[in-house]
């Protein structure tokens, strides 16, 4: 649980925000140098905004507005860096903690909360352009990696990658955790991805824990080493360094889009909060460990870097105010959320008409009507 010191690690910003690239980071520096000040500010703003949202959601759960909340707290840099490296045409397959990814791609945070409130299993429509090709959360760990790979196969078969046209070539990026990495589906996804040379990035957020189980239980070897066995290049990145996370994702996505096949990234990060609002991390981890990772806080690190580059106090205040407003808006709109029609239960089980659905929906309507009439 000490900070990663694997020689393969790509890191650009030290914990204190100083620009101190590791040797492995050298080849990524041009990508970082190409970033404008506005880009850097956007990265920071993304992280701060979604952290405020995340804190708000935790509070909403405590207030009984949500059934559950799985915080993204601590993983903002891994998520912002990778998602800001995507292009609009790319497809995003999250697991279930990718709030930063989803909202950055355009998903309304309320739609995530609707899932956690028990109003929907999906939340948003991935085919609606406003959601930035963000597929819905998947709760059965690892299963989304196969969906992403299948989507990537479709891109290959339809000639939607490797044409050399950056506006058209499309990649997929799939998110999964250190715990999920043990699932057979993740293996099979890597097998298929390499066989069909999908334009795909496997983005592993190793946040050190799968609920109460440390990553050491999943693997004694660093997880990024698995990719080589499939013939797939992989990169280990400091996931709490938004610049490094951006750069390694950008390169991997560009290569994937260009038709060079799938890529893997392991982002070393830390779940700074509880697994979910139902969880009590004090049962299984030490506050020493938590504190050591608090010192690597991705938001503080980027802030220090921007300060070092001369960002103004007004900028930070502005971002904080924006974030607070964003979180407030979420609270207001959560409180306004309505209920659910019982009939929705039957509406989309099938796409084509289905006699059992019609029958049961009719039965339920009649049954409910019988109460309204004062019967039973």
């Amino acid at each position: 649980m000490t900070p990663p010191d694997d020689p393969a690690l790509v890191r650009v910003l030290a914990s204190d925000g100083t620009f101190a690239p590791t040797p492995e980071a050298e080849r990524f520096l041009p990508l970082i140098e190409a970033l404008t000040d506005a880009d850097l500010e956007t990265f920071y703003r993304d992280m701060v905004t979604v952290r405020a949202f995340d804190r708000q959601a935790t509070n909403l759960q405590r207030q009984g507005q949500l059934a559950l909340w799985p915080p993204s707290f601590g993983q903002e840099a891994a998520q912002v860096g990778s998602v800001r490296a995507t292009r609009p045409q790319d497809h995003i397959f999250p697991s279930y903690r990718e709030h930063v990814v989803a909202t950055t791609r355009g998903v309304d945070p309320i739609d995530i909360l609707r899932v956690m409130r028990g109003l929907t299993h999906g939340g948003w429509d991935p085919t609606d352009p406003k959601n930035g090709n963000t597929h819905i959360y998947t709760l059965v760990l690892g299963s989304q990696t196969l969906h992403a790979t299948g989507y990537g196969m479709g891109l290959v078969f339809d000639g939607r990658c490797g044409t050399g046209d950056p506006e058209r070539d499309t990649a997929v990026i799939v998110y999964y955790g250190d715990g999920a990495s043990s699932q057979g589906d993740v293996h099979e996804a890597m097998v298929f991805a390499n066989t069909y040379q999908t334009p795909e990035v496997f983005f592993l957020q190793n946040n050190q824990w799968a609920i109460s189980v440390p990553v050491a239980t999943q693997s004694r070897a660093p997880l990024h080493q698995r990719a080589a066995g499939y013939g797939m290049p992989s990169t280990l990145v400091d996931g709490n360094d938004v610049l490094a996370s951006y750069a390694v994702s950008k390169l991997a996505l560009d290569e994937a889009r260009a038709g060079e096949g799938p890529r893997a990234i392991e982002a070393e990060t830390y779940r700074m909060g509880a697994h979910t609002t139902s969880d009590d991390p004090t049962k299984y981890r030490t506050s020493d460990e938590e504190q050591s990772w608090a010192r690597r806080d991705p938001v503080a690190r980027m802030r220090a870097y921007l300060e070092g580059r001369g960002a103004s106090a007004a900028f930070f205040e502005g971002v904080d105010a924006e974030a607070a407003a964003y979180a407030d808006d979420v609270r207001v709109r959560t409180n306004e959320l309505g209920g659910l029609e019982a009939s929705t239960m039957f509406a989309h089980v099938y796409s084509d008409p289905h006699p059992l659905m019609a029958e049961q929906q009719r039965w339920l309507a009649d049954y409910e009507a019988s109460f309204e009439g004062g019967a039973a």
Binding site: G122, D125, H135, I136, H147, T149, Y151, G154, A347
Partner: protein, 354 residues
Amino acid sequence: MSVSTSPATGSETAAETGAGTAAAAAAPAAVVAMPFAKALNAGLRAAMAADDHVLMMGEDIGKLGGVFRVTEGLQAEFGDRRVLDTPLAESGIVGTAIGLAMAGFRPVVEIQFDGFVFPAFDQITTQLAKLTNRLEGAASFPVVIRIPYGGHIGAIEHHQESPETYFAHTPGLRVVSPSTPNDAYWMIQDAIASNDPVIFLEPKAKYWLKGEVDTAERSLPLHASRIVRRGTDVTLVGHGAMVSTLLQAAALAESEGTSCEVVDLRSLSPIDYGPILDSVRRTGRMVYAQEAPGNVSVGSEVAATVMERAFFALESPVIRVSGFDVPFPPAKLEGTYLPDADRILEAVDRALAY
């Protein structure tokens, strides 16, 4: 409750050969005799020709044409981007088929044998079956999973099972099983045309059964059941390879003076109860036959529902004849395990004794 959508053929051979009298009467028929497996092959070819996003996936379906040769020639004709010999991993096959459906394809997956569908069970039940619902209708998942199923071929373990219960119980899936070449030809095309996931159960014992296929017109919708023999004393119901066993039993019963009506279920989910209830209301007795273990099975559902809906019409309870509640036994015992005409007649006798 629906009413029978099809005229009965009135003869067991017609059902066996698959000549739909309705279709034959309605349109200039293009009737060709072919084996069941070839009819499937022709149906798949037609679907692939009609829509270039129909794609086949599975183990050994390419050059080899599948272990039962159902996909023979398709890779040569449509190329290896449309007929994929995948890596050997069933969860991977179904999971990537889901992703391909998201990308606009209509994947048709072949599972090599019934017993090998279980590694894909999670992707089928928690993902494929539920994604349309999870997405509130924003996307459809037109994935067909073809599974050769059932016994009668004397094969080793995992090669003779009838897993339909697992799928029929799962909301979001459709489950069908043709019993004749004509149905094979049309039902596979209708399954591919369906916007919902379809578990397509191919009674492997019938792959070599020859019958007439009317390539001009389908006789029945995908989810309709069909009366394949008229009778007055007892209604016999089943699906897949059991249909010919039921017809055999009906023929034997006739020689003993008992008139049996036979219904081919065709669709196990949803079940078209119309023709069955209609029949049972006339006969007052019913026997259900299936190869699968009987405990908590499709037969349990049909029996419970028919007894519920035709309670006053029944002279006897619905009698179920099933595989025993044991793993499919070594092949030397399949003759004992699988319901045959004698066991069906024993059940008919029991029904008549009430």
